[in-house]
Symmetry: C2
Subunit: 241 residues, 2 copies
DNA sequence: CGCCGGATTGAAGGTACTCAATCCGTGTGG
DNA sequence: CCACACGGATTGAGTACCTTCAATCCGGCG
């Protein structure tokens, strides 16, 4: 059992499923990687608008997004629904369901996407054998908690334009982490969905986009966005009360 | 190794640390319970205002609150801070730190409290041996994610009075789960802290309290609260938009 | 061409914020 | 013992920001 495999090899090993969050930091032997690969063999395609899971579905698996992107949204008893996150390829989805054995929100494909299913029982069994996988699984869950707390901060104390700036900079960073342009990208979601995520009405989102364009911070045409002044956007965050 | 130990025995076994969240649902043998007890042997006291940990502290352990209560708050770069949660005895705290190996928020005692320290390395090692503990740990983390998403919903789409009603009903439920009165209790936190948690200013919180009292939904005097009309409070949630 | 959904823009209104004064309970010192 | 100071809580008035409602625009598609 040889350890200290290069990150490069690991990427290759997990090639059947782009498990950016799940694989990369884990330091596994060839044999162990083979086990990971076995685990993530099920890959399925979803068309835009398809549900990956719905609220109330029995929990069986986590899902690693291999290509495309999703939104997750929570449904309130009174009919209100709120987007709780946008996930792109390389991210893990479905962690909310572990605690009740049933999904508490629903996941919808924002574009044609491919997803690897990770049966959670098998994942737990494997992580009992591989401490580095175990730790990594814990880190993924912890990161989700931290991410959510960041959004709580945003929703609880930021003004509309700050929220949108944070949102755009976050997207930018995630595109950059995938080797894509950090300044030019296509939004996969509607103004309505952005608003739901940021706790704003779609008109407010639209106005904020227009204001940013007016200030030469961004260029926006429908869902095509270009960030023209990253420092300017950054300085917008945390300005006022 | 005998399994299927009664819940009652489990409670007793974990008596040195009231690990409501961590122990109760786990179905362990006597020997395994002993290992849990060994794990949670370190118990420390904290006075009102003491920090359990600060933002940036190296991550070593999770903490199980044995008595008393805490608040956790996140610090923004620009100096803003926001309360991300109130924890009472029986709850686990510190999950945010796993992903970066450093605490991303700080925990402050709201009253004199006792806390069991759970060294995370040992917890992970033990959970590799005990699948039921492993699953339980995952559930705790998942529950934290679901809880945070509930707050996102609250912050993103509820009006001030709805937020306060949700807050009071949540407290009520947690007191009830501990065998305390679900209608009469002492708040451990200031209006300012409630406001920070709910994304409101302290004046708004105060006004909402007064309005509830005016409507005979609650009786409130400083930090002493009595819920007079639970159904009324429930019906307030999810009313409008 | 005309429809449709999504996006933009405008005007009016409402909710929560800001600023400021007052109140209240507790603890301190004369 | 009372006076006073202090922090937390309450209440009021004016304002800012976001929402609401409504009209218009734009691009894609039948």
């Amino acid at each position: 059992m040889q350890r200290s495999v290069s990150t490069f090899r690991l990427k290759a090993a997990c090639s059947n499923c782009n498990l950016r969050e799940l694989c990369l930091p884990v330091d596994l032997s060839i044999d162990e990687m083979q086990q990971m690969d076995d685990l993530s063999r099920l890959k399925r395609g979803y068309a835009r608008g398809d549900y990956l899971y719905r609220s109330g579905d029995k929990f069986q698996s986590l899902f690693a997004i291999h290509s495309g992107s999703f939104k997750t949204q929570a449904l309130h008893e009174d009919g209100r629904e709120q987007v709780t996150g946008f996930q792109m390829y390389g991210e893990i989805i479905g962690l909310d369901a572990i605690c009740t054995d049933h999904h508490t929100c629903e996941a919808v494909a924002l574009e044609n996407s491919e997803v690897c299913e990770l049966p959670f029982n098998k994942l737990e069994a494997l992580s009992r054998k591989l401490p580095s996988l175990q730790r990594h699984l814990h880190k993924i869950m912890s990161r989700e908690i931290v991410r959510d707390q960041g959004i709580m901060l945003l929703l609880g104390s930021m003004r509309a334009e700050e929220r949108l700036a944070v949102f755009l900079l976050n997207l930018s960073q995630r595109f950059a982490a995938r080797g894509l342009s950090q300044t030019q990208f296509q939004l996969r979601m509607s103004r309505q969905e952005i608003g739901s995520y940021l706790g704003l009405k779609l008109e407010t989102v639209s106005r904020a986009f227009s204001n940013f364009q007016e200030s030469d911070l961004i260029s926006v045409k429908a869902r095509a966005v270009e960030l023209l002044d990253l420092p300017g956007l950054h300085s917008l965050v945390g300005k006022q009360l």
